[in-house]
Symmetry: D2
Subunit: 346 residues, 4 copies
């Protein structure tokens, strides 16, 4: 049994880790860390877990934790993981960081977009970007995994095969993404109140959202060139789900079937990526609660562009599910263990 | 492996059966019946099932089906199951009927509230009312189970221990219930359009809803007297969930702890009933996607009434989950097989 | 032109006052009081008002305000109005208090349910309970109006004629109310976040909600007897609207038409009360954005009870709309001025 | 008083016409046409109108109607208006067509995108495209106005000044639009049921949506060149509102202030267009129920693109409100009569 510690177990991503891991047969959670709720029963914070989880919330003492568990998930605000991690800890335990601290390879880019100094730049090179479908082999060997952001996972996977194969002109790539509100976290802010979000739709962080450089870096690796793109997130009145609509000029004349073949080349054996049939657009509802990425696309011969669409559950494939998928890889167990979650409809 | 046939697999309850059974380790679905979608791929109707279910929809030929499967679920409109069932079929297979055809023991009451004639009254006596927590032993031996209605399951289980123990005056019982919209089914009706339901709340079927006699009959058995009560359903702008708020005069002066002890007497060992701590009110979100019934209550000494509250997911404990629980009992396997569904939050 | 000051202009009720008054032809707002946003442009807080309201938020100096305006609306937390009001202020200006400070005639009941001391008990007797349809003549002469609560307005008006005429047994009256989330205000609380409210339904404040004694007092005046009842509020995933479902034993055998005649006796000439036709249940959506109260009812001969249902927009008839209606009465202008708001559908 | 007839008064756009016109002081509705509800009381179809509208639904006899009213609104499916209109009718009355029949100047484009033949091509030249802010003078003189589509109004007005001034490269223009569900109409379709739309987000009509050529034609006039662009509509779980996010390469280096000046040049005097302050993104909620278009934009120097965002209420500025604005122009009354609707929040 893999012994697990979670730091930040009472945020939405942390809560989803607990939900998913409760069905994982080769692990058990030993530490429910939550500074805000220390000494309170976890099930008093997330009542869905009443009579399922009996534990009490603990502090976020990573030193102590490292000696007790095989892997630590940090589902915490930017900067915290970097401020706690050190060589001794990494020598004892593995870390899967759900924050952005180790996602970007260029520390200057991190500091510029996140507006904070980086406390552990010495681990940036070692950290593996945990997008399993792309970096699977590196993840297997990692001590420290940077779990990708929610928008990022969806945005990258949707365009990756075409970027890799040079089918799209990367300078024309535009990503218009729409997210459910759980992506904004459980902090008490007026802008996330029910009455402010319900019956409303807006863009935010236009041209400045922090997931932008992460998408650019990863798609840049795929394309083999520096990528600069537009990424615009939007807030949607729903709890879960991200839909990314992506536009790019095709570099050559291709049919739907040819593009499909490219997607299949990369994802044909991927359990969690479903490339949809022709003329089917992904819907966030069809992946809700699951680790799937659904991808569809349409070629517009009038404009020479392809419109790619990807949908995920932001808390699963966009956070906790992917983190568990990474853990499974790191510990050499079945990659889908605990993740055979059937999407819930309606 | 239990071989399963579903008639009505493309309604919301049928879809939920498929979702739940996809995680059930001792059964497999052999027949996805759906008159509306014959010959279409099931996953084209419910795209969440893409690459999970590969089957094609079949007709609702119960004769044929009976010779192929061990149990048939009928998730169909009132009257259909009764019109198809016969002794030969029941001699070959078991039936779990999710419609109301065999829930009421008095055929006249059925015909009065449902406004249709009953086509198979000869099986009414034999049919077992499949509220597992109450009729567990009878369910084990049944050939034909009448799976309770969604409002009914929630309403009965919330009041049952107090009715049974004579703690409430049954003539004062009032049930005010609130349901998500999936309870209205997948039929294309103007009144269930998004724009008609969203940002709206209403009562309907006041004093005439068909679940009323079912609640009265079952609580009557518990109380040992004829029960006539008010049941008022309401439509809530959410997909899933039923909340029943129930009011009754207490027959004697009791403390919260004493009432809790009564609930524990009946439900202390029940995996799927969670009696909440003092001052905690159930919320539908905390049971979403799961087979739980959450129950809370408050004694109002000013009025001498107790307010009981119950919450379920109408498609799980209120339909498909309970049907699977019944199946597990009928086939002697672990009662919770396939049902260890952790509620999804948020 | 009536000169108006608002203390608490940036809460949801305050915002609705501003919206409604922007269409009121015989008044103008001179003071947008908001401690939280002093010196900020009002339209930066409520962007719907961009290019409509040009004013800047002021403090809540009631002394100063009293010398500048003809009427002050206090849309503030409990206790604030009582702590600011004094004889000098009331000699200069009229006050319409949207909080509970002057709603209850018995100061002990106030202090017991609200858990705070009352700072201005000397004005309780003078204050007029501003339920226009019931206390119209008193309102006309008032200096200080206690604007009724949202649940209260809906609950009282729905039962009032039958209470007054002795048609219902008041000891059996149960009010099960459902409210949109704007009733919870604009404070940043986890429990009111979108993800906590959406796809969820719960009761709260069971047997302890502060609107209970207000309903009891007013219906007690109507019935001519002390009334003790059950009132249970519920939170619904919608922005606006209250639906009250009320149950009581009828004191005699009456037909739908006879009860309708009783409602018509009291409300036949009331512009803002619409008594619906037989078998029509009120829906909150049909009154959204308007000052209407829609009332329907059903007699259940099986149980001898009547089920009364009322629907309002909690921010309009339940708060700001009624406050303006009171102002119109106090200043002798057309009662419906500014309130001819057509409900918005969908 | 302008005498008005509405054909299609019971669809959502028709209902909104009735709501808006009920506050219009210089007109009255004489004819509520609705084939589906002939002889039923209008207020039985839209209960918000109970005790406000007393009329009964009529058929869609345009000949008869033309002799009774000064203007006919057709809020009907594509093709109906074209099949009914003729010279005699137009000699007697004015027509404002809310369908697409007369929006496109090229009948071939119409027939290609709408897949139906055009029944009255002889009136296409005469018809004025009723985007008031752009074609105001032509509208004043029109007999037949083609009221723009909802997506179209929002998409065009958001980009128009920059297209007109040559500030954006039209070949790079991409419009990603998000709409509330009322845009899908009141027809009973499974895909628009509450449970299918709620907690869901999807694109549809990708590269094939019928509003595309309308946007291209109008922006083509503005830019003085043929425009071919990508337009992708999305369905959002809300009732009302369209948000268009538009991307284009800037043709030269400009500051936010310079672009703002361009918007102000075109919209500075427009009552219904609000160009927002720097760093403010439009939200559909802030225009709900009103005739406003809110526009914001951001320059991304990294990519050389401008991101323009526009928000409207699809049923008001996107349909009925704009239709009334057109009527006001055609009859020489105040352009904003009946349209001084303050957005409702929350």
């Amino acid at each position: 049994m893999i012994k697990i510690g979670i730091i930040g177990a009472t945020g939405y991503a942390g809560g989803e880790l607990v939900r998913i891991l409760s069905g994982h047969k080769e692990s058990e959670i030993k530490w429910y860390g939550s500074r805000s709720y220390i000494d309170q029963k976890y099930a008093d914070v997330y009542r869905n877990m009443f009579q399922i989880v009996d534990a009490v919330c603990m502090d976020d003492n990573m030193e102590e934790l490292a000696s007790q568990v095989d892997v630590i998930f940090t589902a915490t605000p930017q900067g915290l993981c970097a401020s706690l991690v050190n060589e001794e800890i990494l020598s004892k335990t593995k870390i899967i960081d759900l924050s952005a601290d180790f996602r970007l390879k260029d520390v200057k880019v991190y500091e510029e977009w996140y507006k904070i100094g980086h406390k552990a730049p010495q681990f940036i090179d070692e950290a593996v970007y945990g997008l399993c479908e792309i970096n699977r082999e590196d993840v297997r060997k990692a001590r420290l995994v940077a779990n990708p952001g929610c928008y990022t996972t969806c945005s990258i996977l949707t365009a990756y095969p075409l970027a890799k194969e040079g089918l799209i002109d990367m300078s024309t790539l535009i990503i218009d993404a729409k997210s459910g509100t759980s992506g904004a976290g459980r902090g008490a802010k007026v802008q996330n109140l029910f009455c402010e979000v319900n019956e409303n739709m807006k863009a935010y962080g236009v041209a400045t959202h922090r997931h932008t450089p992460e998408i650019e870096e990863q798609l840049g690796y795929a394309a083999g060139e520096k990528v600069v793109l537009n990424f615009t997130p939007h807030l949607v009145p729903m709890n879960r789900g991200i839909l990314a609509t992506e536009y790019a000029k095709l570099t050559k004349d291709v049919s739907w079937e040819e593009v499909k073949a490219v997607y299949d080349k990369y994802y044909g054996d991927e359990k969690f990526v479903r490339v949809l049939n022709q003329d089917i657009c992904p819907e966030t509802k069809w992946v809700e609660g699951s680790n799937y990425v659904d991808i569809g696309f349409k070629i517009d011969s009038r404009t020479g562009r392809i419109i790619m669409m990807g949908a995920i559950d932001n808390l699963v494939k966009g956070a906790a599910g992917q983190a568990v998928q990474n853990m499974n890889l790191m510990f050499g167990i079945k990659e889908s263990e605990g993740l055979e979650l059937v999407p819930m409809f309606p």
